[in-house]
Amino acid sequence: MKRQSRDSINDIWGERSPHGPEQPWPVRVDEALSDDPERWVRGTCVLCSNGCGLDIGVKAGKIVGVRGLATDVTNRGRLGPKGLHGWVANDSPDRLTKPLIRRDGQLQEASWDEAMDLIVQKSKQIIEQHTSLGLGFYTSGQLFLEEYYTLGVLGKAGLGTPHMDGNTRLCTATAAAALKETFGSDGQPGSYEDLDVTDCVMHVGHNIASQQTVLWSRILDRLASPNPPKVIVIDPRRTFTAEHATVHLVPRVGTNVAVLNGLMHLIIQAGTVDKGFLDAHTVGYETLKQTVEKYTPEYVEQLSGVPAAELRRAGEILAHTRTLVSTVLQGVYQSMQATAAAVQVNNLHLIRGLIGKPGSGILQMNGQPTAQNTRETGADGDLPGFRNWGNPEHIQQLAKLWNVPVNKIPHWSPPTHAMQIWRYAEQGSIKLLWIQATNPAVSMPDLGRIRRILQQEDLFVVVQDAFMTETARYADVVLPAAIWGEKTGTFTNVSRTVHISCKAIEPPGEARSDLDIFLDYARRMDFRDQDGQPLIKWHDSESAFEAWKECTRGRPCDYTGLTYEKLLAGSGIPWPVNEQHPDGTVRLYTDFVFPTSADYAETYGQDFDTGAAVTAEEYKANDPKGKAMIKAADHREPHEVPDDEYPLWLTTGRQVYHFHTRTKTGRSKELQDAAPDAFVQLSPEDAERYGIENDDWILVESRRGLVIERALIGNIEPGLVFIPWHYGSWDDPSRPRAANELTITEWDPVSKQPHFKYAAVRISKYDAKAAMPQGLLGRAVEAVQGLVSGEAAPATVGSKAQGPQPKTTQRVDG
């Protein structure tokens, strides 16, 4: 029996539930079932950073559907298309069920003992010859907190390698960096509840309607209420979000700092700066004031293309709104001056004193569901519990907690960021790269380069995943992993709300949870503490959670008051949760005291233009002692700009129906049918110039690679083209189509997040092979070969040798 509460594919956000002032967000329970469940198990959706509470329906050992959790603070029962349909992936026939080892060039089935022993033997051999600096870990935004913490401890205190990062580096590193630079520590000042009461919402580089559909429902409900907020959107594309904007500013890519400086210029001009707040609770305002002085609307128009009158309209609203919630995402984080721009959003709130109060908050958003936890636990390289790698006292705390010598924990410089890990692998000094639940062969910039690295003779690649991804094809060992619904653990959303997600069914075949794999590795490596006891003293997710709680004691992300039992009681709970705040903390900084004092701060800060670290001495000399830090920035031009050869800007982004590289969402028929293929979106003006019509095949080339996509005309500015980045080759190796074939290997100096949002490209109609310029056919063939090398190519290759054929017509997707 199939049952669904609504057709979420065509009705993405569902019906409106308006509510008056002071009324809570009404409940609406969404569900999608393929059969009547025998029992319900508590879960949390892990397909975007919103983290909606839900129940998983189970029958005869299989997941048969999901139902939104009415009591949950995050969604009040709602679920979006991904949440309602993504669960189908668990039961895919192509799940990995046995470990694989590459023998004679082919991946062949092996036992867990064989696979783990091989990894351990390799690890030991590399450590013996090159120290643990020869090992690198690249994790996900999909694992659970307990798994990340275990990974962090085995890496930092077991192996002692600084080479650990997650693909959250590609999506959320700037959120962490911006929060640290302004407030001294990671952690969102605001909460989702602020959206229910605010007078104004500003989305900067954030297409929330497509990315966090349930959160957007929350805003749509406000827009349908008697007291709708004003909405300001800053985005170069006309997205679903932008359609609802009171003012939509359309800047050229890479000019966020100019626009935000212009808005602050206007606020200062309007005289509505909160002088009292600035004097009492911040440092650095005078420099900001001097810096933004020259960013008049006319100058900003020159730099960004935003009409001066439009900027004035937005400035007028921001100068006078009583409350403001800002959200920031990839349009800022993956673009030029990422951290500098994200920090300007913080500054805008600070100069108006709009923080720490109901209706006023900043959400430096996360792109991945469990990104917050990689940052908290140190699986992305940061130190666990938001500790400061530059502060010896903080390292000492960890050494004591883990009972290891201080010098075991690598802290001689900031931990190695993802792009550098890959660079070390390219140069051969990292010899073993262990990748978990992520797909760099589609998600990293400049894929040709990533494929070459993965194929390097002397690099031993371990991939731990549920599916044979584009990346797993290059592995030397593949470990089959259990996923969501098949294991228990917790994770934290943007609103700092911790949820539990429980094991509902057994993983298929011999697949194991990531936690069990890490624990097994630690045991086989025989990591010990100073007293000769096993370093890792926990054995399952709940005991891992208990260990983690100790690590957070006294830190901003204090989990000490949480238990699994409490988390199962009805809803997620926002940290800090401790004796002082037993029910959690909806909003940070309500006392306007920020975690910036030198002995407590998570960082001493970095130079926005170079990334140079501020030293402890320098920081202590001007210890902000609890005041927020206003840090100004001047506009700088992107690193690659269009020219005669590559005259157009490329930008990339996400679609409603897919998460990451579609490893799961591509295996849900509903989601896949809704958005079956990539496309290149271009303006009617550019379409006319190049003689292109809707659905024509287009060749898009950059200095690094090429893709072939179908044209989708409209809703974008002339000079800019857009490609959704989810699509790799596992289900269509007939043509290069991953947007990251084109993107550049550059990153923000502070957050080290890659610049996916701009690259110079050229386009041409792709119809007759004969018409292709010299050398191009070779490049295309090479690119396709690159896609299907590694493991044996899927069967579809031959049948498509005639060239790309359209699948179904794509939906227009904001």
Partner: protein, 152 residues
């Protein structure tokens, strides 16, 4: 008066730094952060040279062979490989120190001369030179263990 001598030394040293930064940027293109940042830092040094022009007109300039000699002494790159990157960063760091000391010496003279303009230039440029040094130090600290221990 020997202010012109030091102005020449400052200008020459900045020019050496520009040359070294440009070479390192070009040579280490596979290290995107090094390449991009070196280009940015070179643009700062070029600007410093512009700032020095009116001062040179005012005080004259003794063309000094020293900076050229210094580059030979301090900058041996660019070279290839992980250790070589380390050595190049090391050398460029030394060059920034040379420039920094020029600003300090000139700033002292500016105070003695009560030349506000010279003092302002020394302070502003000196601040940026310090940021150049800080970048190389941060990057060197990050790269050192890998280059010295794990790289072949």
């Amino acid at each position: 008066m020997h202010v012109g001598n030091y102005l020449g030394l400052a200008r020459g040293s900045e020019q050496r730094l520009v040359d070294a930064l440009t070479k390192v940027a070009e040579h280490h293109g596979d290290e995107p952060d090094i390449s991009e940042t070196c280009q940015l830092l070179a643009s700062w040094s070029r600007k410093h040279i512009e700032h020095l022009k009116p001062l040179v007109e005012k005080y004259g300039e003794d063309k000094s062979p020293e900076p050229a000699n210094l580059e030979t002494a301090l900058f041996h790159g660019p070279r290839t490989g992980s250790l070589a990157l380390m050595r190049d960063l090391h050398d460029v760091w030394l060059l920034t120190q040379q420039v920094q000391l020029c600003w300090t010496v000139l700033e002292q003279a500016a105070q003695g001369l009560r030349d506000d303009e010279l003092e302002r230039v020394c302070q502003e440029c000196g601040k940026e030179t310090k940021r150049q040094t800080a970048f190389f130090l941060t990057r060197i600290k990050q790269a050192a263990p890998q280059a010295l221990i794990a790289a072949s």
